[in-house]
């Protein structure tokens, strides 16, 4: 009895400490990513980016955050007030959950669940609901169009995303992150599953509504898409959620395809695992930003075509080949 209590107590402690760390990390990470994005965009476009607040503008996003907090929260006339208020909370909550199972290092997993991977995808789908609610409740046609697009896009891209992940899961026979990463100690899965890796990354870009798949918020068409009517920190939450989401998909890509906390080919070079993990994740994030500042936006029907006619058949084929190879080789 006592043992069980202390056990759960230890678990609870771990969970609470972990949650606090996650809250701090996710906020700092989002702020840092916003800064990084602006810096990358700036230098790609032959300009400086933020330079004034702090060294190289590092504190710019914090100041922006404070500005957002100070802004008036506007609720449009005839909006569905309850849903309108709930939506930003709804979008931000699920993006915190995946941090519980992300394997930052060999010992740095808050909860190493046996369905870790499933948990992440279950909750990342949740953000679509929030976008739909936010877009619908705004009583704005641009927002509504953005919400509709977002739902259709997410439905189309969940499938190849999961299919490409399945081929990795097939190889490891586990949904558990620690096992998925441990299986890559010698060789990363990106070398064994290049097609799945590419498909995953494309779908992840679409899942997080990033350019060139940012049609739900396509600013030149829909002004700001689903968050057109949001102001102040409500908009800020959408914004933070987007960047945290980016981090999550990249972290998952790192642990599925880039060996998680392992160095290349088993050489860790004396660098701690968590550094390896974060370095790889931020590199992927940089690639995402690179995409955004290079490509034009695809059109809605082309996006659908691409998913249903290219990505889904390819990922099916990839899964089939994986299964056959595992069975007969």
């Amino acid at each position: 009895m006592t043992e069980a209590v202390t056990n759960t107590g230890g678990d609870w402690l771990r969970l609470i400490v972990g949650l606090i760390l996650v809250l701090i990390f996710s906020q700092l990470n989002a702020l840092f990513l916003v800064w990084l994005e602006r810096k990358v965009a700036g230098h790609i476009q032959l300009r400086y980016g933020p330079m004034e607040v702090g060294p190289h503008g590092l504190l710019q996003t914090i100041v922006d955050g404070i500005k957002l907090v100070g802004k008036e929260l506007i609720t449009p006339f005839k909006a569905d007030k309850k849903l309108f208020v709930i939506a930003p909370v709804l979008v931000f909550m699920p993006v915190l959950v995946p941090f519980l199972v992300l394997p930052f290092g060999p010992e740095l997993i808050i909860r190493d669940m046996n369905v870790g991977l499933l948990l992440i995808f279950a909750f990342s789908t949740f953000s679509v609901l929030a976008i739909l609610v936010g877009g619908w409740a705004s009583n704005n046609k641009y927002a509504l169009l953005g919400a509709i697009r977002s739902v259709a896009q997410n439905v189309a891209y969940e499938i190849p995303l999961l299919l490409s992940v399945m081929s990795v899961v097939l190889m490891v026979h586990s949904f558990k992150f620690s096992e998925l990463v441990m299986a890559q100690q010698r060789i990363w899965f990106i070398f064994l599953q290049p097609v799945a890796a590419i498909i995953y990354f494309i779908c992840a870009t679409a899942e997080t509504n990033r350019a060139p798949f940012d049609i739900p918020e396509a600013e030149s068409e829909l002004v700001a898409g689903f968050h057109t009517e949001y102001s102040g920190m409500r908009f800020g939450l959408f914004f933070l959620a987007e960047y945290t989401n980016m981090f999550i998909v990249c972290a998952v890509a790192t642990s599925l395809f880039l060996g998680g906390w392992h160095g290349p080919f088993g050489f860790s070079l004396g660098i701690p695992g968590v550094v390896w993990f974060l370095a790889k994740t931020y590199f992927l994030l940089f690639v995402l930003m690179w995409f955004r500042w290079t490509f034009p936006r695809v059109r809605f029907d082309q996006l659908m075509n691409f998913s249903w006619k290219v990505l889904i058949p390819l990922s099916m084929l990839n899964l089939l080949v994986t299964a056959l190879v595992l069975k007969f080789v």
Binding site: A41, Q45, R47, P212, S220, W293, P296, R299
Partner: protein, 373 residues
């Protein structure tokens, strides 16, 4: 592209105001869209938000005083408008500018045309969602503005031309800078093509989108690159050569079917042709005065009228001046190319998607204040 979709069901139509404040309407343009889902059933551009009454102003000002106005009708190719107005008045009064002035005007006008096309290139890509080419174009365009700033003292609304010449002579530094710019622009084509023209997303966004064919162009009076993209080699610089354009060897680029991709290609090729004109003009540049001294500030044309058409960056532009013999024009009408170019949208936008509407709107290259006048 529209044929590829099933016939849209005409129910639950709703209207959407695209503009007047919208990120990609290029000024205060409002397009009243009737939508069925994301399909456009009807598009009605509403214009006039930027009406300043330039034509009425023209009747209340002397010919010279109207000059600053001309560069504000279309602020992106202000020098071309100056140039055209100058030529119209010179034709009306019979002033002959010296040879050197003619060449200077042509060089500056072509530079202005390139800068206008570069800006179009950037903003069009921005409409399609690619932000970065915009900044690259502005980097190049800044070069032109610096060059023109050196001679005209202004970066956007030049009012550089005067009846019988220009306000300021060009010097060796200008010539050197211009040559360097032409060289630089040519070295940039490869980057532009790699970044944009070959990009598969870009091609899919523009091919077969917003087709303006010959027939449509004729009905709506579409001119300029939009008409040339449909395969009609109609350019006032060739058809009715004004100034010294008949002394240069250049081609009129034409497209095939008149979709957005063709318009894009035609404009890009036009920049290259403008470079050729500039180079030849610099080679042939004669010495001599840059301005005719005997022209009075208050020109008094004889009674009569003139209709002078020239090629601005957006198409065939014309000044229709009626003089009653006084220093003030009796009537001063400006034929602006964007007027027809925008009007044909009512037809072109039908049965397209909202995303295509933005792409088409960007590809026809309108300047809204020019339409509103």
């Amino acid at each position: 592209m529209a044929e590829q979709f099933a016939e849209p069901v005409r129910q639950h139509l709703y209207s959407l105001n695209l503009g007047p404040q919208h990120p990609s309407t290029h000024g205060v343009l409002r397009v009243l869209l009737t939508l069925d889902g994301e399909y456009i059933v009807e598009a009605d551009p509403v214009i006039g938000y930027g009406h300043r009454g330039h034509e009425k102003m023209g009747e209340n000002r002397t010919y010279l005083q109207f000059m600053p106005n001309t560069s504000r009708i279309d602020y992106l190719s202000g020098l071309l408008y100056n140039h055209g107005f100058c030529l119209a008045v010179e034709k009306l009064t019979g002033i002959e500018p010296p040879e050197r002035a003619r060449y200077i005007r042509v060089i500056c006008a072509e530079l202005n045309r390139i800068s206008s096309h570069l800006l179009w290139f950037g903003t069009y890509l921005m409409d399609l969602g690619a932000f970065t080419p915009f900044l690259y174009c502005f980097d190049d365009r800044e070069n032109i503005l610096d060059i023109l700033d050196r001679v005209s003292g202004s970066r956007l609304t030049y009012s550089y031309c005067r009846f019988g010449g220009v306000t300021r002579d060009i010097d060796d530094v200008f010539i050197e800078q211009t040559r360097a710019f032409v060289k630089r622009l040519r070295s940039r084509w490869k980057d532009y093509h790699n970044l944009v023209t070959k990009n598969v997303i870009f091609i899919h966004r523009t091919r077969d989108v917003g087709v303006i064919d010959k027939d449509l162009a004729l009905r709506f009076g579409v001119t300029g690159p939009n008409l040339r993209a449909a395969g009609v080699p109609f350019d006032m610089r060739k058809v009715e050569p004004y100034e010294v354009y008949d002394r240069f060897d250049f081609e009129i680029p034409v497209g095939e079917k008149g979709d957005a991709l063709d318009r894009y290609r035609v404009r890009l090729e036009e920049m290259e042709q403008s470079c050729r004109i500039i180079e030849q003009a610099l080679d042939q540049l004669p010495d001599g005065p840059y301005r005719q001294e005997r022209v009075r500030l208050k020109v008094k044309p004889p009674r009569g009228e003139v209709y002078f058409a020239f090629e601005s960056a957006r198409g065939q532009t014309a000044y229709y001046l009626v003089s009653d013999g006084s220093p003030y024009p009796y009537r001063c009408h400006v034929r602006v190319p964007s007027f027809g170019n925008l009007h044909c949208l009512t037809e072109v936008l039908r049965e397209t998607l909202v995303a295509d509407a933005i792409s088409i709107l960007g590809s026809i290259d309108i300047v809204v204040p020019e339409i509103d006048r």
